[in-house]
Symmetry: D2
C-alpha cells in the first residue's frame, strides 16, 4: 500500500537507495519447492549492468562505464536449493560510491528528474544519485524477476524482450526476414539484428553522446507459453497489471498491447482475431494444449492483434507489448533549472551517465513481466481446488 510492494499473491517488496548500504527485495508467496539457482539471479543482474553485454573488446556506447559487481546474497526462504514457501530476501550491496559527485546537486533540481517532485512529496531528499528515484532501484526488481522466471519456467513460460527502437531508429519487427531474436542478447544494444541498422544506431548514439545529449527508445516484449485464463477482471486484468508494472519503471512514458495505438485507426473486421481449433505449432515453444475447464474447447487464433489478451484475460497466444522510454534526463549539455532557494540556476550534470538506457531496460521489462505473470498464475490457481 505504500508503493514498494508489487503483486498480491506472488509479491515483491523492494528497497534500497542508489548510494545506500544495499538494495534488495523480499519475495513473498513463491510456492514452496521452486528450484532457485543463485547464478540465474546473478545472470539477470549482470544483464542489467552497464556495459554488461558488450561484445568482447567493445564498450557498449549506450552504457555508463560505472561497474558494480552486483553479487546477490540470498538471506532466507531457500533451503537445499528449493524455496520453503517463506519470504525470499535477496540483497545486493553497493560498492562503487562516489557520493562526492553529487554534492553539487545537493541544492539544485535536475531537469527531467524526480528531484523536486520527490522533495515535494516527502519533504526530504537523498541527493546522492537520486537515492531511490535512481535507475539503480531496478536492481531489486531484476533479482525478484529472476525468481519469478524460475517459477514460470516450470510451466513453459518464456519471456524475451529486446530494443525495438533506439534513438528513433526502428529495429526490424517480428516477421521481418532480418528479425532475429536470437541476436538480441548478443549485441550491445539488444537489437534483434545481426548487422545493418545496428551500426547506424551505434553511430547515432555516439553522435548524441558527443553532443552531450541523450536518447530514448522502445522495448518490445514477447511471452510464449502463457496458458489461457490468466488475468483478474475487471481491475486487475492482465494488460492492466502489465501496464502498471511497465509505467512503474523510471523513464517509461507509454505502453501498448498487440496492435496497440494503431488499432485505434483500424476496423473491427480486420482487427478481430479469428478463433480456430487449437494448433500447437502457432507458437515457437509449442506448449501442450493447456488443461481447460470441462466443456471448453482448445482454441488458437489466426492473428494476434490482441497481443494475447482478450477481455483482460490471456488467450493462449503470445503476449506482445511495447514500452516507450524517454531519453535519459541526465545530460552534460548546459541546462537552466531552479535551486532550493527558488532561484534560476545553470546546470551541467557531471558524472558518467548512460546515453540511452533502453538496452539496460530490457531485463527490467522482462523482470516486471515475470512478476506480473507469476502473480497471475497463483491468482488463477485460487479459482480451482488444488489438492
Amino acid at each position: 500500500m505504500s508503493g514498494n510492494t508489487f503483486g498480491s499473491l506472488f509479491s515483491v517488496t523492494t528497497f534500497g537507495e542508489s548510494h545506500g548500504a544495499a538494495l534488495g527485495c523480499v519475495i513473498d508467496g513463491c510456492p514452496a519447492g521452486t528450484p532457485i539457482d543463485k547464478e540465474i539471479i546473478a545472470r539477470d543482474l549482470a544483464r542489467r549492468r552497464p556495459g554488461g553485454n558488450a561484445p568482447a573488446g567493445c564498450v557498449a556506447p549506450a552504457s555508463t562505464t560505472r561497474r558494480e559487481s552486483d553479487e546477490p546474497e540470498i538471506l532466507s526462504g531457500v533451503f537445499e536449493g528449493k524455496t520453503l514457501g517463506t519470504p525470499i530476501a535477496i540483497i545486493i550491496r553497493n560498492h562503487d560510491h562516489h557520493s562526492g559527485d553529487y554534492d553539487a546537486l545537493r541544492d539544485v533540481y535536475r531537469p527531467g528528474h524526480a528531484d523536486w517532485t520527490w522533495e515535494t512529496k516527502f519533504g526530504i531528499r537523498d541527493y546522492r544519485g537520486g537515492g531511490r528515484s535512481s535507475g539503480r532501484e531496478t536492481v531489486g526488481r531484476v533479482a525478484a524477476g529472476a525468481v519469478a522466471k524460475s517459477f514460470l519456467s516450470q510451466y513453459g513460460v518464456v519471456i524475451q524482450a529486446w530494443s525495438s527502437s533506439i534513438a528513433g531508429i526502428a529495429a526490424p519487427a517480428p516477421g521481418d526476414p532480418s528479425f532475429s531474436l536470437a541476436q538480441a542478447e548478443n549485441n550491445a544494444l539488444r537489437m534483434p539484428v545481426s548487422s545493418g541498422s545496428f551500426e547506424e544506431v551505434l553511430a547515432k548514439i555516439e553522435r548524441i553522446r558527443l553532443e552531450g545529449d541523450s536518447a530514448g527508445g522502445v522495448v518490445a516484449c514477447v511471452v510464449r507459453g502463457v496458458p489461457p485464463g490468466l488475468g483478474e477482471p475487471v481491475f486487475d486484468k492482465l494488460d492492466a497489471r502489465l501496464a502498471q508494472s511497465m509505467l512503474s519503471v523510471g523513464a517509461a512514458k507509454g505502453v501498448e498491447f498487440g496492435a496497440g495505438f494503431a488499432s485505434a485507426d483500424g476496423q473491427g473486421s480486420l482487427l478481430n482475431d479469428i478463433p480456430v481449433p487449437y494448433q500447437s505449432n502457432l507458437t515457437e515453444i509449442s506448449p501442450p494444449p493447456p488443461a481447460l475447464p470441462r466443456g471448453v474447447p482448445p482454441v488458437s487464433f489466426k492473428t494476434n492483434n490482441a497481443g494475447g489478451i482478450l477481455g483482460g484475460i490471456s488467450n493462449g497466444m503470445p503476449l506482445e507489448f511495447r514500452v516507450a522510454f524517454k531519453p535519459v534526463p541526465s545530460i552534460s549539455k548546459k541546462q537552466a533549472t531552479v535551486d532550493r532557494t527558488g532561484s534560476i540556476r545553470e546546470l551541467i550534470v557531471k558524472g558518467r551517465h548512460d546515453v540511452c538506457i533502453v538496452p539496460r531496460a530490457v531485463p527490467v521489462v522482462e523482470a516486471m513481466t515475470a512478476l506480473v505473470l507469476a502473480d497471475m498464475f497463483l491468482l488463477q490457481w485460487k479459482n480451482r481446488e488444488g489438492n
Copy 2:
C-alpha cells in the same frame, strides 16, 4: 485482490452483469463530510449512455439506440447530503433486458470478445450480452467516479477527457487554433471542435456502419489543479496507477503520458521540462500555489513533455495522457469463429451495437482518472500529520 476492487484508501468495488438485476459499486474510504449530489452521479451516467449527448434531433451515429434510464440509487454512506465516512453503495438497475437476443450466442465464441477467455478462466459464462465482460460493466465505475470527482472538486481538481481521434481521423490537438475543449461536450462524438473534421468523421462512421463494421479511436485526458506530490513510488507511481486504470477499461490497447511514444524518438535536451519559479498562470484554472513542505520552493515548468508526472509523482503541471481503444468487436459482417464443440462456425452478431464506443469511453476515462487521483490524495495525506 480478486480483481473487482480498485484503489487502496479511496477504493471502489464494482459489481453487476450486463443483463443481471443491477450493477453498482461500493466506495470505501471517501472522507466523511464530502458533499454528494445524486444528480451529479446521474449526469455522468447519462454521459455514458448511448445517444446521450446527441444534439437535439440528432441520434449520435456512434452510439447504439438501446436506452437505459440508469437511475442511481444511493443505499448507504450518505446522510443529509454528506458522506459519513462509511461505504457508499450505489446501484443502477437493469431494465432493458432482451436476453433472447443472446440465445444465439450461447454456444459460440464471438471474435474479439472475452467469451472464450472468460469461460477458460471461470469454467462458466454468462452469455447474456457478455455478462460482466460487457461494456455495461463501466456503469459502476462511472457512478464511483462521480463520487471521486465530487471529492476532488473540493481541491480544485478538474478532469476533462475528449475524443482526440476517431476512426483514424485526428481532432485538433491542444494548442491548435481550432481546438475547443468547451465544444467537446456539445457534440455527439465528444470531439473538441465546432465544425470541420466533425462532419468528415460522422460520414466515415456512417460508412463503416453501413459496411457492418466498427471503428476505434483515442481518448485524450487533461487534469488541471493536481497538486505536486501525488503518486507512490516505486510501484504505485501516479502514471503506473493511471496506466492500470486505463488498461482495465474494455477495448483499451495502449496508454501514453505527455510526449508518450514520441518521446522515445527525441533527445533529452529537447524533452526535459525546464523548471522555473512558480507561475500561477501556466494552467487555465490557476490554483493557488500548493502548500509545500518547508524549504521546498514553488516551481513551474516551461514545457509539459512529462505530462505532469516526474519520477511517478505529480509536478503540479496538468496531467496529460491518451488512451487507445480498438474498434468494437461486435460487427454485423459475417465472421468465422469456433463454437463450444470446437467446430468452426460462421457468425453474424445481431442486435444493436455501437459502431464506435470512443465518445462513450470519455466519461469512463474521466471516472477512472478521478478514482486514481482521489486515492492518491489520501495516500499523500497519510504522509503528514493531519490533526
Copy 3:
C-alpha cells in the same frame, strides 16, 4: 484498506447504516460454479433476527421485539443457481424505521456506545440508531457468511456456534453428558441444553430486564472438517485472522483458542497434543483423510488443547474457540453522560433493546468463521498447481 473489506481472496465488502435505505455486501472471489441458494442466505438472516428462534408461543426474552423481514436480494454474480466468479452483491432493505426514537440521542453520547469515538474519528455521526456502528451492521456479514458456508459445505466443512455462557451462567461444555449441540438451535438462547440451566438463565435474563439492565456472555464455536494446512504464517495465521474477525464484531471483548487462557497456567507435558496415526473417527463428521503433499503422513491428535491450530496452521482437528461479549450498552437505567456541548447529562436510553445479544451473535460468529475459512481455502490453493 478502509476497513469495510475483509478477506484477501474470498473477500467481502459490507455497507449500510442501521436506518439507511439498505444494508448489504459484495462478495468477491467466490469460485465460479458454487451453488447458491437464496433460501440459505435468508435462513441465516432469520437466525440473526430478534426473536427469530423462539420456540412456538414463546418470545425470546433475550431479544428485542423489533421485527425486520430481512429479505435478501441477490443483484449480481449468480446465474442459473451458480456463481459466475464475478462479485456477488446482496442487499437487505431496511423497513422498520423509527428514526424519531433517536432524535433524543442527536446531541448526546450514549455510554458504552461508539457515538463519541465515531464522531471523533469522522467528524460526523449518523445518530439514527448508531448508523453503521449499530449491531444491525452484521446483516451484511451474515449474508456473506451464508455464501461462504455454501462454498465450504462442498468440502465437508461444518461450522456450529452456540451460547456457552449467558449472564454468568455457563452451559455444559462439550464432553459433559448434558451437552447437546443439537439442542442449541432449538431454544431461544442457543444454549446446548434441553433443560436445567436453561430456565435458570431465562429467569436471570428476565430479572436483569426488569432492572433495566443488560447481560453479556460467551459464544463458543466448533468447526469440523477443516483440512490441515490452512493459515498463512506469520501474520495471517488461522488463529490470527479468526481473532481479527471475532474482535471486529461489536461488543466482543476477547477470544481464546483451544485451552485458551487456561493454557497459560498449565505445563507443556500436559498441554502438548500428542500426534498419532490418522483416525477418521476422531471427529463427528469424519471427512476422508485429506490429500496431503507427497511424503507427509496422515496424522490425528490424542487431545485438542490447541483448538485445531498449530503454528497458525490447521491440523485437521476441529477448530475450537470462544468469544466473550460484553453486556449490551443500551440500558433503560438512568446513566450520566456528556452531550455535544461537553456538559454532563442524565440519560435513559429509550426504545426496544436486547437484554443480551449473545444468542443473536451466534450466527454472526459462524458467518465470520466461514469468511475466514473460505479465504484460507483459496489462499492454500494458490500454493499448488491447480490445473
Copy 4:
C-alpha cells in the same frame, strides 16, 4: 497477502529462518523525517534475547543460555539519522548455528510444534530449529516495532507490557499497591514487582525446569497517549487488528481487552464507562487534549472497562489488553509422537530451550502493538486534509 506482511500504510514484511543466513524486516510507509536511532532498535532486540534482562550475576532461569549478538544493520531508508519515506530494510544475521542439534528432528514431528502442519501446508520443511516457525522469527518484528515506537514517540504514545502471570502465579494488577511497572524491566521475569511473588515464581519455574517441563503465562500491555479516533470500522477496528497481531505471535492462545472475558459475566450498568468532561490527569503521561474535529467536545471516562476502545475506535483512555501464552512445547520429558513414515516414535527434545518464554514475549507484544498503532495513525491521517 502471502502472510508475511503486516499493516496497510505503515507496513512491515519480515523474513528469515531460525538457522538461515539472516532474519530481518522491510518497513514501508514510515513517514519521511522520522528520527531513527540504531541503538533503540538494538536495545529492543536485546530485550528479546534470552537472559538479556537478568540482574547482574544472575542467569534468568526462564531463558535459554543460547546467546546471539543480534546486531541490526540498517540497509536502506535512513539518511543522516532520518527516514527518507522509502522502505527501511533491517537485517540481523544468525551466528550461533548448531544445526547439528536438529538432525535428530529431521524425520520426526515434535508435539505442540508446527512441524507437521507446516509440512502439510508447504510440502517442505526447514527442520533446523523449526525454520521460520521458530520463535526466532520474532526478531524481525521487534526490529520493526522499534521503528514504529520511534514514530509513535513523536506523538506521546508510550507502550509498556509486562508479565502479568507466569506458571499460574499472577503478578499484582494495576491499582494493587505492590504493582510497580517501573520494576518490570528490572527483573528477569518482567513481573511488575520488586519482591514477594517473584521468588515464588522463580522457584516454581526452577522446579518445572528440573522436571523437564515448561510453563506458560500472560502478558499484559498498557498504552498511554493514544489519541481518540484510531481504528477503522468495521473489520479493521483497533481491537480487531490488535487481536490479529497478538494471535500471530507463536504460542499465543487468547487475547482480551479491558474487562475482557470477565465482562461477559457482568451487567451493562456496571460495565459502561461513563463519559465525563476531559480530565488531563486521568492518564499518567497526560498528553494535551487532542485536536478534535470541530464541534466534538473533549471527553474522558470514569472507568476503563472498555480498555480504551469503543466501537473499535480508541477513546483516549489507555489501551489495556492481555495475551495468554501456552507453555513452551519443547520439553525434555519423553513424549510419544509420529515420524515421517507415519509410525509412532518416542521423543526427547534435546538442546537448550526456554522453560517459559513469557518474559521474552513482552517486547514482542510491545512491537506488535506499536506496528498496529503506527498503521492506525496513518490510516486516520488519510481522513483529513494534511497539507
